[in-house]
Amino acid sequence: MTEAPPRSHHARLRLKTHIFTVLVVMTSVSGNLSLSFGMRQFGSLVSRSPMAYVRAVFDPWVALGIALLLVWLAAQMALLSWADLSYVLPVTSIGYVLSALAGKLFMHERTSVWRWAGIVLIVAGVMLVARTAPHRSGAQS
């Protein structure tokens, strides 16, 4: 079978990119939230023995967080197989905004004016980068 026409190839690539971007963002936000929830109950790890880290990994919330981060890893690797790192990083940073909002909603962390300003800047940055083609070449492949 010969190469699909460029137009459908681009449309397909764009769709794939969108699906995997959403997957990367959702798994990283929920994974971090779960880790944070677990570690908050666990107490400080700093200046404790290495065994404390091992026990932390078996906390149910931390374990769930690790499982979600494994999915995140797989999704990000797939995404990086066709999209540039300089595209993937800024675009998936929308996750920081969701994490901040999740921290506010579920962990009752405060959201200062500075944080809101940060959220606005990130959204603007993501919109800028998302306008560029995800792949290094419109030409090759």
Binding site: N32, F42, V46, L73, M77, S99, R115, L121, G125, V126
Partner: protein
């Protein structure tokens, strides 16, 4: 202590991301998502040195991250780990030879500033 952990996380994340991107770039676009093909892909990737190195560095970053979470809020920890934004974009351009256009520089810089503000 907080900022030492942040520094470890930032450096380890950067190295891990660049190694991972280099490995996946040389593999090329994943097109086949059927379970058999994904299984073969997994077998291929776990033997890839760049991927193994990336995962090892990511483990360092992960344990530093949960240590940080045990002493700081999620909304401090997550933004602080993103201190590596501009550095990663520079490495993407010069090491991975990606076309970093003006829009991408501007976007990455805005994100970096925004992320820094988030940790305040």
């Amino acid at each position: 202590m907080k900022w030492l952990l942040v520094a470890i996380i930032a450096v380890a994340t950067t190295v891990s991301d660049v190694l991972q991107a280099a490995a996946m770039k040389s593999h090329g676009e994943i097109r086949d998502f059927r379970p058999g093909a994904l299984g073969r892909l997994f077998a291929l990737l776990v033997r890839n040195r760049l991927i193994l190195a990336s995962v090892a560095v990511m483990a360092v970053s992960f344990f530093a991250f949960i240590a940080l979470l045990s002493i700081a809020d999620l909304s401090f920890a997550v933004p602080a780990t993103a201190a590596s934004y501009v550095l990663e974009t520079v490495l993407a351009k010069y090491l991975l030879r990606e076309p970093v256009t003006l829009e991408r520089w501007a976007g990455a810089s805005l994100v970096a500033c925004g992320v820094a503000l988030l940790s305040l």
